[in-house]
Symmetry: C2
Subunit: 303 residues, 2 copies
Amino acid sequence: MRIRVLGSAAGGGFPQWNCACSNCHRLRHGTFPGFPRTQTQLAWSCASGDCSLVNASPDLRAQIEGTPEFWPQATNRRSPIRNVFLTGVEVDQTLGLLLLREFHSFRIHTTPSVRKILTEDNSLFGALARFTEQASWIDMPLEEPFSAGEAILQVLQLPGSFPGFVSPPRIAELGSGDAVIGLCISPDSGGPKLGFFPAVSCISDTLLKELETCEVLLFDGTFWSDDELARIRGVSRTARQLGHLPIGGPDGTLERLAGLRHLRKIFIHINNTNPILDEESAEHRAVCDSGWEVAWDGMEIRL
Amino acid sequence: MRIRVLGSAAGGGFPQWNCACSNCHRLRHGTFPGFPRTQTQLAWSCASGDCSLVNASPDLRAQIEGTPEFWPQATNRRSPIRNVFLTGVEVDQTLGLLLLREFHSFRIHTTPSVRKILTEDNSLFGALARFTEQASWIDMPLEEPFSAGEAILQVLQLPGSFPGFVSPPRIAELGSGDAVIGLCISPDSGGPKLGFFPAVSCISDTLLKELETCEVLLFDGTFWSDDELARIRGVSRTARQLGHLPIGGPDGTLERLAGLRHLRKIFIHINNTNPILDEESAEHRAVCDSGWEVAWDGMEIRL
């Protein structure tokens, strides 16, 4: 089983359209020691040739065109993409669903809350209901592993809330138990487990135990420091308030996960402001010296 | 005044993600005599440096990054994009609004119906209401010219209906008078008028008279023939039923607008299946021989 990282940036991508921070500015002007990144998107192909996506990024059109494996074949004229699994309802996790709207049948696996928000509170998603069996919405089991896309998956519910666009009455009705999840993925033939956790606000001991059972970890690398946005863009909320434990600092991810030694650890969902994108920075070096990798668009992970 | 064509394709772009028609297949394999195109997007810059967009395509992130004029400046860290004008509520006209969501204030000019559908029926657009004056929604006058974005604009209401995702009760409430519009744009200093009509299902004598007052016409070039989708993709609806007068054939656009001789005529919003994309095709030749141009990504039009 081969997991592809089609995109590795946080919402907005790198560079971000309206940002002229040092990272974005230098990248646009060709003086940045690092690479552009599209918004976080995973995918895998099955033995049958069918493909599955994890989340649906706004950059999905370009991500698909950049990956010949996901092109429709001239012989059958249908896309191999059959399943999409969502780990939340953020714009950068869901908008790409609407890019899959042209005369194609596929399955969308979500938590019950995410399904309700998208299909009941957003008429645009009617674009995926233009013919019978265009998009089939499937609630993922929250408590036990399940089989889909020729893989074994398991949802891990994480602390966290819905994005700000979800109305207070809707939140009151839904609770927030399934607002933010991680997803563990293994080949259905058995074998190594990959954990995908792009939004982690704190690492409980329970979560730590789960992470220890993974062979590969794709983990929240959104921000380096808690006040990163405040310093660069004047945004008052901290990384933690935005639902992302920072990588550095006291009780940051590097410190909290220092004991995880027997698995491959990769930061993903990296915000444009994060200094680890600069491959000559002290922060990039600190991450590498701690045994972590930094995900990049086009990265492949074999399980 | 310089109008930029940032994208020139119909919904889905060219190539389209799940299509292996002759055009898409050859383009992907490097044997197509023509160019890829992103989804239709216009823009202009004002003397002040502010920019305006017409529609908001799903490809907007890449379209902005591809145009240095629209980058945020290091000195003020804000995007020059201040206005967006929508000519309808199709996914390929509106999804890009959500790409403009990061801590930026701008104005969205729509018809009243389009505003209601986006803001009242789609909670995702709450992502544009995270702080006071993030997005200001402004109803465009339907009957008379108005001034915005350092230009004079005029709405022309066209026959047509809302996309299939808009619910029947909503349609019953709204009527369809402002579902589909064209937009005429002139410099506010006076000067030539550009008409933008990406969705025209029939050309009435009234519309014909309006078109005659334009110096430049960007016109619906979605399909060459009425049964184009049926022949290529097995879709039962005709071009006309989808709201697009075909270019060729009896009563098609070439024939219907043959009398328009004193203006620059350009086809835009071109579907991936349209043979005019193939620059060696008989249809491409027929279009050029009739005095029309075919819009391309990066085209600039001076008014």
